[in-house]
């Protein structure tokens, strides 16, 4: 509770700075490093446009224009102070006000920022970049070993992602492949015949979704927070309401567990593989002839490991129309645990494999941006005793449309459909429609109002459906 005044004071200072933005606007690290407006890379932050996707794909370098001397040249030419300042960025996301309604009760909550993230990010050499996110969460939710959840006042540490990206084109060159130097970066191929950007190695704590046609960490509608219910005087709470997230990327199964020792449940809305909080792993991606983007990698997930491959084809970009489609194939080795056949509240002894495959597409036309994904999951190695009581197939669909009504106003709508799997007694399908209006008084500051509507019947005992509307007013601020 002692944090509240401090957070309120920080917000007041932040708002004062925003109010004085005419003389002191602030922009995130890459915009400062390259002297570019936010909207050069974003349709509107955080969503990337085609140029921003290329920028990310090439390791946070302006395509074909990497600074030859990298970080050292920056120190020399711009001085240490500016180099350090330009390397840092801060993001504050928060629901300043939250309203949630159900037949049971109406809740109104004023909240501190959901998260404050400090980014340390910069190309180090033309072929190497680093990206580190340090995150402060005032109300982090963590699992308790005592078979429940508890809220902590705050948490600080490495955030969703912390990785380096390394262009390995030179490696293929050393192995005999023809190479070209394009704007300081090594590229494989021969002009006019075959070109290959990368392969880029991304390793560390990663979420490899950015290259997918539905890049979940760049969507306009962010996930809502998991709500915990606590008994008075108790630290321990249980799940009261599941968050609204893109269901296509959710775990989709009721009754699973993350691991055995701690018995932590794998919530049906937990984002796995993509849109995660980041996991140790390594990812390779490369773009062929500026049309096909191939990606493969391995990621840690719970007690197991994911191996995945993704292929994106950029079909066109002309007449103000851009279209790409992606296919994803993922095999998770022992990434979840089935419930104990005799006691569903405890994890069982066997680990499950998961096959995940799906399609996504992104169509941009003028001020419209439409993207969606359908992902299918199937579990393997279920205990025999569970097979009749457990549905091992599940699917999710997420469709989002953004429309830039005005230079400073972005409207978004998203539909999420969950065809859930898991324990037949517990599982419920979910359908949610969300709308959002986002106002950008400056390119790096957005105020948003959003409403999510539960399209399914109200179910008091089910945290996926025990609500009708969730209305949020919030701020998303990068500087």
């Amino acid at each position: 509770m002692a944090e509240r005044p401090r957070i309120a004071a920080a917000l007041a200072v932040a708002l004062a700075i925003v109010a004085a933005a005419e003389v002191a606007d602030a922009v995130p690290a890459f915009a400062r490093q390259y002297d570019l407006q936010c909207n050069v890379c974003h349709t509107r932050p955080p969503r990337l446009n085609r140029f921003g996707e290329q920028f990310h794909m090439m390791g946070f370098q302006i395509p074909s224009a990497a600074r030859p001397g990298g970080l050292i040249a920056s120190f020399r030419e711009e001085g240490p102070a500016r180099t350090v300042i330009d390397t840092l960025a801060l993001r504050v996301v928060g629901g300043l006000f939250e309203y949630s309604e159900s037949p049971r009760e109406t809740e109104i909550k004023a909240e501190p920022p959901h998260e404050v993230a400090l980014f340390i990010t910069r190309p180090v050499t033309p072929n190497v970049s680093v990206y580190v996110e340090l995150e402060y969460e005032p109300k982090a939710v963590e699992f308790s070993r005592r078979r429940g959840f508890f809220e902590r006042e705050h948490r600080f540490g490495v955030g969703k992602e912390a990785f380096f990206m390394w262009n390995l084109g030179w490696l293929l060159g050393a192995a005999g492949a023809p190479t070209m130097e394009m704007g300081g970066q090594t590229m494989v191929g021969e002009h006019g015949k075959f070109t290959l950007h990368g392969p880029m190695l991304m390793a560390g704590k990663i979420d490899p979704n950015t290259n997918f046609s539905y890049p979940t960490n760049r969507q306009m509608l962010q996930g809502t927070e998991l709500e915990i219910e606590k008994e008075q005087g108790e630290d321990v709470g249980t799940v009261h309401r599941l968050p609204v997230v893109p269901y296509a990327f959710a775990s989709k199964f009721f009754g699973l567990f993350r691991d055995r020792n701690e018995g932590e449940p794998q919530l049906v809305t937990d984002q796995v593989m993509y849109n995660t909080t980041g996991a140790p792993g390594a990812d390779l991606h490369a773009m062929v002839n500026d049309v096909v983007l191939a990606q493969a990698g391995v990621l840690r997930e719970n007690e197991g490991v994911n191996a995945y491959g993704m292929l994106r084809v950029d079909l066109l970009d002309r007449r103000e129309l851009a279209l790409n489609v992606s296919a994803l194939l993922n095999w998770g080795f022992g990434v979840a645990r089935a419930p104990d056949p005799d006691d569903h509240r405890r994890p069982g002894p066997g680990r499950l494999d998961r096959l995940r495959y799906g399609l996504a597409a992104n169509l941009r036309w003028r001020q419209w941006d439409l993207y969606g994904a359908i992902i299918v999951d199937r579990l393997y190695d279920l205990p025999g005793l569970l097979r009749r009581r457990f549905d091992r197939d599940a699917a999710g669909l997420t469709l989002e449309v953004d429309y830039l009504v005005h230079e400073k106003v972005m409207l978004s709508g998203r539909f999420d459909q969950l065809w859930a799997g898991g324990l037949r007694d517990e599982k419920r399908d979910g359908s949610v429609f969300s709308v959002q209006a986002k106002f950008y008084p400056w390119q790096n500051v957005a105020f948003f109002v959003r409403d999510s509507v539960n399209l399914r019947g109200f179910a008091q005992d089910n945290p996926l459906r025990n609500w009708r509307h969730q209305l949020f007013v919030g701020i998303d601020w990068d500087f």
């Binding site: 050393a174 002009h191 006019g192």
Partner: protein, 421 residues
């Protein structure tokens, strides 16, 4: 995790970091230089800027009279090294350290742009990188007229077996390097066909100017050429190098974050020239113009109070006030009605913020803007209305507007501070 494992992990990470930072860099290679060795060291590097606009009119390549004239010149001046059949095996050429090229090499000739070719014929082997490679080719610009050099090129071109004009739309391989750079760095805004219709533009500035340039049209804002003319290659090169500043709006901090188009100054100069050559290939007008005129920028005079006073009067007389406003803030009475040639609303530039001037903030940049106008926008050319000295008066007055704004700002601050005392 045991201490041993932790130490091993730290050591491995450190070794990886060392490898990343100081390990093998990119293998030395040159854009489209793969054929360099095959073509005997005749790297088809981009022509330097002073020759980059020296395009050969397409009709020259197939004009029988030009080819016949070229044959005569070739026999008299070239065949001794390049051979009667253009195979590079003339009697005098065999002993040369850098062998003459084989004009029968269809692929090699196709990669060679006409301005490169003209540069080589004009300057011979007296320029780098050819001089360093021992080229003995004499410069012909002193002996042969432009027409004669075109003629001999047209004849040499016949050895390759290609019947059409030697232009990029016949030989896309001649701009392949630029096309690959364009695909990565430019396509998202300017579109695959260079029409300024990539997917980024409509989101960047919805339903208003500026929009990405349509390279196929004749309208280029940032030129050193008179109104209605295409820009020079140097103009395009400058825009690619400097990028384009935003005219204002959301993120306009004092430090950074202003440009709408990146400054590609870190792209190697050779590759910037390559991408400019590809951009030019979208517009055949670059090959149709016989002469490239530019607006000369005389040396800037000394600023005086009298000059500023004359500039103030010109600012009023030339109706700059109508769009830019009396204080230069872009708030003149006509400003809300301004539209560009596409019919999109366009803002009048805030003259009190030179750091946002799209065509550059230096006095010579402003002079150039005044005298060439900004094609496709309501900003006209004053080349016919102002004498150079008058233009400088106006330039200095325009640049003084930012001083006025700063002075007003500091005065306001001072007043506020004074009130507090």
């Amino acid at each position: 995790m045991s201490p041993q494992v932790r130490v091993a992990l730290v050591a491995a990470t450190s070794a990886l970091a060392m490898l990343v930072l100081w390990g093998p860099g990119p293998r030395s290679s040159r854009a489209n230089g793969e054929r360099d060795a095959e073509t005997g060291g005749h790297a088809h590097v981009p022509a330097p800027l002073e020759y980059a606009d020296a395009h050969v009119p397409p009709s020259v390549w197939t004009d029988p009279a030009m080819i016949a004239r070229g044959r005569e010149i070739y026999a008299a001046k070239c065949a001794v090294c390049h051979g009667d059949s253009g195979d590079g095996r003339g009697p005098a050429g065999r002993a040369l350290p850098l062998k003459p090229p084989d004009f029968r090499d269809r692929a090699g000739v196709a990669e060679m742009r006409d301005n490169y070719w003209f540069w080589r014929v004009s300057e011979g082997g007296q320029v780098e990188p050819f001089k360093g490679r021992g080229s003995a080719m004499p410069p012909w610009k002193g002996e042969l007229s432009v027409q004669e050099r075109w003629a001999v090129m047209a004849y040499q071109h016949t050895f390759s077996g290609h019947d059409g004009p030697h232009v990029p739309w016949e030989h896309p391989e001649s701009v392949a390097v630029g096309r690959d750079i364009y695909a990565m760095a430019c396509l998202a805004c300017h579109g695959a066909d260079g029409r300024g219709d990539g997917s980024v533009g409509p989101m960047l500035a919805p339903r208003r100017a500026p929009q990405p340039r349509d390279f196929t049209s004749g309208e280029f804002k940032f030129r050193s050429t008179p109104s209605g003319h295409l820009p020079t290659t140097a103009d395009l090169f400058r825009t690619v190098t400097e990028g384009i500043r935003g005219g204002g709006g959301a993120v306009t901090i004092g430090l950074r974050g202003q440009r709408l188009m990146p400054a590609f100054r870190h792209m190697p100069e050779e590759q910037r020239l390559e991408v400019v050559e590809y951009i030019k290939s979208f517009n055949r007008g670059f090959w149709d113009r016989v002469e490239v005129k530019t607006v000369a920028v005389p040396p800037p005079p000394v600023v005086t109070a009298e000059r500023l006073a004359r500039g103030r009067q010109l600012y009023a007389d030339a109706e700059c006030v109508a769009c830019h406003g009396a204080g230069g803030r872009g708030d003149g009475p006509s400003a809300p009605t301004l539209k560009d040639s596409r019919g999109l609303p366009i803002a009048a530039t805030d003259l009190t913020r030179p750091e946002r001037f799209k065509n550059g903030p230096r006095p010579e940049d402003v002079y150039r803007t005044l005298m060439t106008g900004l094609a496709g926008t309501p900003m006209p050319s004053y080349a016919d209305a102002l004498e150079p000295d008058q233009a400088w008066d106006l330039v200095y007055f325009v640049l003084s507007l930012s001083e006025t704004r700063r002075a007003a700002g500091s005065h306001a601050t001072g007043s506020a501070g004074g009130g507090g005392r």
